[in-house]
Amino acid sequence: MMVTSQAIVALASRCAAAARSMESDLNLADSRLGDGDTGTMLARLLTAVEATAACGNLGETFRAMAKAASGSTGSSLGTLVSAALLAMGRSCGDRASLPLTDLSILLKTARDEMLSLGRSELGDKTIIDGLDAIAISVEACTRPDEIASAAMSAAQDAIQEFRGRPCRVGRARLWPERSMELDDPGMLALAAIVQAVGTKDS
């Protein structure tokens, strides 16, 4: 099985549906130390992304998605996601498909772009830590169901791992103590979306 533009568009649709269904939960998570908009923003961003049609190659598809994403918001998380989509597009170039075994590399490209734009590091307790865990967990996977279950556990484990650790970037950075007890809304969003999407797949 291969990663194709069609597969990515279908995946985006399922992410969007998942995000819409947990809009208020994610807002609530962000309202604790942030500004309470993570859920609304993600639902809007992914709804814009899912409306993108599959293009002739992966690069174009990702770029079109990045454009839709960046047109929908300028929030921190949304901007990081847009930049990640753009970077993945750049890395795919004009290829029409990608073997599943390249997924990990693609996710690492996204991760590195986000770290650079966000001026953050692994360990800062952000969505990027969740993404990093997923990217590593799927390194050796070859089948969709393997990927789904590895990603679900990795995202979930990352949340556990960061409990008790302070948040070092984003709005929550300003309250290291309080942020120790709270899960990062970006990591929560990633895990919940992966969970919703992965459950259907496995």
């Binding site: 908009d37 923003m41 960046s70």
Partner: protein
């Protein structure tokens, strides 16, 4: 907490349509319609000043476009940074051939988008100065991490006056930096606000509580206590601002800004002004000017912020230079 709107998804665009309908000097422009510019454009040879940020803070940000202030503004959704394209357009449309200063608040989304946009824009000389005046948002040693709040408006005024007077991009940038570096703000609120798409208010407080240091997006502050007498609250606010200035905290000349976060009765702002004057005078800080009103809001948040900007011979006159924007006029 009711919202007066048609739908959350039209909140910002309908509001911007109303803004340009009421103020014919302003235009919605750019690819997204989310870039607001002066109808008259930028005078050739003038340094342009572009800003941007989330909605929900009016008059911040786009209410300060006009003579002696800003040239363009990228407008994001409520409490979200402006999109990349709107930032690119804001930079390009602020270009009068003498460079463009990006002057906005220190928030992740805003920074990322303006930084990317600066690389994509057609303008050669782009400089950036970020507002970091909220003393409650990070310790003094990490000033560059602080959020930008109402005090940013004071940098709009000084940098805008310098640009209007013909200063070069380096000088306009330096004036903005100096103003930001001399400005100390702190917020206080006793009731939160509601995002258009949300069901519950942000930073919901008990009916008799007050929170010191709260951010303009409802980010948590330093403490939450039962509401106390106004004078004691003002005393603590000013104390924290002056203390943050370091050595010497006292003495000097300053501009005072008492800003309505949204729902505070104007009478109550003046109760704060009265005490602020008393306390600053006791600290031998001469008040060059006092600005009172809604300068940077958080929709219907009930509360106020106090900003102090220490001035010198260069910056003080810039505060009385003429300016004409929808929300701030100086004659």
């Amino acid at each position: 907490m009711n919202k007066f709107m048609n739908s959350p998804s039209n909140y910002v665009d309908e509001s911007l349509s109303g803004l340009v309908a009421a103020h014919s000097d302003l235009l919605r422009a750019g690819q997204t319609g989310r870039t607001i510019v002066r109808r008259s454009g930028v005078r050739r040879g003038k340094v342009g000043i572009a800003t941007g940020g989330g909605s929900g803070h009016l008059p911040l940000f786009c209410g300060y476009i006009g003579h002696g202030l800003l040239d363009s503004c990228a407008v994001g959704n409520v409490f979200e940074g402006p999109t990349l394209q709107s930032c690119v357009d804001a930079i390009d449309m602020a270009d009068g051939g003498a460079g463009v200063l990006l002057l906005y608040g220190n928030y992740g989304g805003d920074r990322m988008n303006f930084e990317m946009a600066a690389k994509m824009a057609r303008v050669a000389a782009v400089r950036s100065v970020l507002g970091t005046d909220d003393v409650a948002s990070a310790p003094r040693q990490e000033r560059q991490k602080r959020r930008g709040v109402a005090g940013l408006v004071l940098a709009f005024k000084t940098a805008g006056a310098a640009a209007e007077a013909g200063a070069c991009i380096d000088d306009v940038t330096r004036i903005a930096e100096k103003t930001v570096a001399s400005t100390y703000s702190i917020g206080l609120a006793w009731s939160g606000c509601r995002l258009p798409a949300a069901e519950a208010p942000l930073a919901d407080m008990g009916s008799n509580e007050v929170e010191l240091g709260i951010g303009i997006h409802g980010e948590p502050g330093i403490w939450r206590k039962p509401m106390g007498p106004a004078d004691a609250l003002v005393d603590e606010m000013i104390e924290r601002l002056v203390e943050d200035r370091g050595n010497p905290g006292e003495g000097g000349r300053a501009v005072l800004l008492v800003n309505n976060l949204g729902a505070t009765p104007v009478d109550e702002l003046y109760i704060a002004v009265r005490r602020a004057h008393e306390v600053l005078t006791a600290k031998r800080i001469a008040i060059a000017q006092t600005f009172v009103g809604s300068f940077a809001t958080s929709m219907e948040m009930a509360g106020l912020s106090i900003s102090i900007c220490f001035v010198d011979r260069e910056t003080e006159p810039l505060f009385i230079a003429p300016a004409a924007s929808p929300f701030w006029r100086v004659q």
